[in-house]
Symmetry: C4
């Protein structure tokens, strides 16, 4: 979709530092750009003369039917974009039936998100903290409020180098709080995200910890941040239900492979029973269709939802999700794929 007008409005409303925090990537932002470019480099091979009189983009995620494979990616601090915050984006997701992945680093608590979209599908993105008790507490709260799966982020043992934020001296604005973890924020670390990350997050996480995490409340576990087939297999082996191919939106190692390229490596090598997801640079329904064709079951969208939220709050976020879903349906129609099962790898040129 044409995000430029939304991005322009978001920049204006958020102010440059908050906008930069969302829009930026690590170092020279090569992976950030490559994520988008990689979808654009794909060449599609539409089929013709299939009956596409009725197209159905619904799918099954975690063995449960869901109206769209488009999901809201976990991103930090939605109130940077709009006062509606995570409640707004969660409600937007619920409105279109998209799975909402709530972030540990949210500006509204997972309880408040659950309240605003009680019947909707919600997963919880978990940063494992050095304090395992606190980690367990987060998992308990997620399970108790109806989050149906954990998404463990594993590509951020330390923050990436974000030059924009350094230049801007970006900190969490005073009127916002990291609502899920505020108890653990020292007053003197203030809004400095990196300091919080360094102090609180666990860089020593290994495959051996996955079983512990999964067992805490018996929630299905997804590992987010996987870029290699061997790592994906090891995650499944260690008890994960699936992996999310991600490079953290180009915010960690600059030069990391695009998620398209990682998806193309991982998909044909992953156990059939494991669920595969992808995020990074998805800006159109055509890209969603391509991701599914390449083997993804669901596609997480981050920044576009934030631009929609910034531009129009809950309704703005919903409009973005709706337009992407309509684009997906149109792409399926034009590709000759009336159902997601018809989105097969031959639709993408090798």
């Amino acid at each position: 979709m044409d995000l430029e007008p939304l991005v322009a409005r978001a920049r204006e409303r958020m102010g440059q530092p908050a906008f930069d925090y969302i829009v930026g990537g690590a170092e020279d932002e090569r992976t950030l750009r490559d994520n988008e470019d990689a979808w654009h480099r794909l060449r599609l091979r539409p089929r013709v003369l299939r009956d596409v009189g009725s197209v159905d983009a619904s799918t099954t995620l975690l063995d449960r039917a869901t109206p769209t494979p488009i999901m809201v990616a976990p991103t930090a601090m939605h109130r940077l974009a709009h006062v509606d915050g995570e409640q707004g984006s969660a409600a937007a997701a619920a409105q279109v039936g998209a799975v909402f992945v709530a972030a540990t680093m949210a500006t509204q608590s997972l309880e408040s998100v659950a309240r605003v979209a009680p019947g909707a599908r919600r997963w919880f993105q978990l940063y494992v903290h050095r304090d395992r008790g606190m980690t367990r507490d987060l998992v308990d709260r997620a399970a108790d409020t109806g989050f149906e799966a954990l998404v463990v982020t594993v590509d951020a043992p330390v923050p990436g180098i974000r030059r924009r934020d350094r230049a801007n001296g970006f900190e969490l604005p005073e009127d916002l709080e990291l609502a899920n973890v505020r108890a653990s924020l020292n007053s003197d670390s203030g809004g400095a995200m990196d300091e919080y990350s360094d102090a609180a997050l666990e860089p020593g996480l290994t495959f051996d910890d996955l079983a512990w995490l999964a067992a805490l409340r018996d929630l299905p576990l997804f590992v987010k941040g996987v870029l290699r087939a061997d790592d994906a297999a090891a995650c499944i082996e260690a008890g994960a239900s699936g992996v999310i191919v991600s490079n953290h939106g180009g915010r960690q190692v600059d030069g990391a492979v695009s998620t398209v390229d990682a998806l193309r490596e991982i998909a044909p090598r992953l156990d059939a029973g494991a669920e595969l997801y992808v995020d990074g640079g998805v800006r159109s329904g055509t890209a969603v269709a391509a991701a599914l064709a390449l083997g993804a079951r669901g596609v997480l969208v981050g920044r576009p939802v934030i631009w929609g939220l910034a531009a129009g709050g809950r309704d703005g976020a919903a409009a973005v999700l709706t337009e992407l879903h309509e684009e997906l349906e149109r792409a399926m129609t034009l590709l000759g794929a009336p159902t997601v099962a018809d989105l097969s790898p031959d639709l993408v040129a090798t």
Copy 2:
């Protein structure tokens, strides 16, 4: 050929919305650009010391000799470009001996086109409508007025996403009508092309319908919009006389393979008895020569004819076709290929 001056004049005369409707493509217009770029990426391997004292670019289309393999592609609403409309472009085609493919979405009826170029070769591009009776009626009218083949467009079950037209709020101007189908246009759908398409065109078309279409009046059938070897084979299997490699001028799925790349996939795999055509991004006689070398029998040219029509009516369109044909002859001379039969794949680097 150097189209820039023509395009500039066309833009000026047509006004931006109509110009945008013609010039534009889907979404980010990547396939639109790639269509042209793909011809430019080809590297040619001219032969020397062949006798090119006399070069003959005539060929045989549908078992009938024709003076040029260049054809006028079916494009909608020629009166957007010039009051001469389809009658002008058809007369221009007749003047140079090029096959004219009349469009369902024309602003002048196929009967009036037949009248202006009675002895000339004309094919009819058919959109299959949900109303099969209306479809049959179109085929009858085409057969009755001397159109010698049907070109069924299969890559547009729904319209692509054309941002330019959305931004311009583009509609069929009030003084124009879709002359072939006006009976079926509701007054309230007005000039909104997309609404007409959605309401009237059949998205449920399959290979099984091809035999029905071919049998209606026993006209040879070409399937336009094919981008894959398997689909091309299936079309022939289902009774088509040939296929036209096309991505609808980059107006449907953005990211679809360029027609050059599709041609290179399809040509070596197609039955020898089937006729293969191509359109998309052809802007020079050298590109026409390359297309023939890669296995096309005829090459359809769309936008350049419209620019010529816009700039100079019938004569302008004829000038474009003439210049392209002369360029083709010169390219054949310089490639060491005195006849179209000499345009073999080795002339293009792998």
Copy 3:
């Protein structure tokens, strides 16, 4: 070498139409640009720790020792650039020991060129005319005035499409004449090069004519304009002493392979006994070294000599040739190749 200052001066002195005639290529000038780019795309693999205390760039052309593999390519009408004309460039070539290839379309006669550089090595570029008597006459004059070989141009059965010249209405200026062929120029064809070409040159030349040409005066014959290994072999088979890989400086078929790519195809497949030359886009001694490494025996330089001539007459042309030769020696030193025999294919990355 850094030609920009020379080119700027040449443009100023020659005026735009004459400058455009020299600098331009066919159609979109893709091959023109690709010729230069292709040398730049090559990646070199310098050797170290070879004794390069003394480097010798001399070589053997046509079994005769010559101080440099750099040659002056045949280009038309040197007096467009400077009043010194072909006499100036021939004298410049003689000064540095470079073989001078005089053009049929010269503005000074081959006899006058012979007079100014009597002892120097000179070859004659021949356009075979429809009038075979006239062709024989040109060969006789060349042989009688000490030209030691014929270079038959075979890639110009008709002129390419040169938009610059069309836009400029470029003609031979009134004070210049095509001195070698003036007898055959009708007064009414005037300075129009294309008309002369069409009227006088033989587009029906074939491999069978090569033996006849070679036998006329028993001069060694080179075929210029070859871009394919099969054609190169056929030339040798038909009696040529060698071939010159050339696409006429990008002035004939736009889209033709770069001469680097053609050289890489032809060199490993050509008979060891045949001599291989290349022109097109060579702008530095490093490119000359690369050409020799890839299998060329000599390298013809066209436009740079004209820029030198335009900027400073004979001395300007000599300065260009001298600088290129010095660059070649430096490149050989830095590549670890003290003699031309040491310039082997492994110096260029595959």
Copy 4:
């Protein structure tokens, strides 16, 4: 790291001619650019869920533990950048534990460098002079002042073509001297570097000379300027302890392969016992990590240290080295490689 601000300050402080001397490369500066681009073209495959709670970037160079694989490359005339000169950059290296490679063409003598960083690791870059006695003298001085290895530069038998320096008429400023070799500088060659090079340096060096050099004082010998696997093997065969993959910062043969590409050729083919280093275009800790993953043991950084020195003297140089080392540690953390031994080739996409 983001060098732009440093480069801007350096340009301002040094003045254009000195700045150009440092920043520039040979001819069209293609290899100069390609060196940097090649690191950026690499695509990394980070691992997840390795315990990166503690990351250690220390390594072993020449069988001696060293806190960082980052080294200061030998570059000429540090006092062009700052009055602190080589003493400043050597002290900076010592401060962070980086090996300092002192250059023959230094503006401060190797003895003075030794004095300022007596306990630090220092290697000496040697230009072998035509005058072998003078060469021996340099080696003696290096050995006597605690330089622990010789780095023989072999890619500069003659200087490359540096257009910037020619245009600027760049010479060694009057207040600076080539402190290591001043005795051999004729007064009339003045500051002209190229004249000195041509007069004094030995272009006849071969593999056979390596044994002689190594034996002079029994110092380990590294050969700098190697770009091919066969040459690398021959160096080791001839007695070198290792090779430094380098194209002299793009200052010699324009078009030479990037050092990344050369490293990828050489590393898998080099004897396990030999040490492999690389320089050229390294501008980030991520690039250092990639170099180690591809088989380098140490990575030499040249221009960035000079920009740091220019901007802030010794402290400025130290700041650059510190930031690069911290970036390296962060890259290792994010790549899932807690030690340099974990930096294996699979971290880089093929």
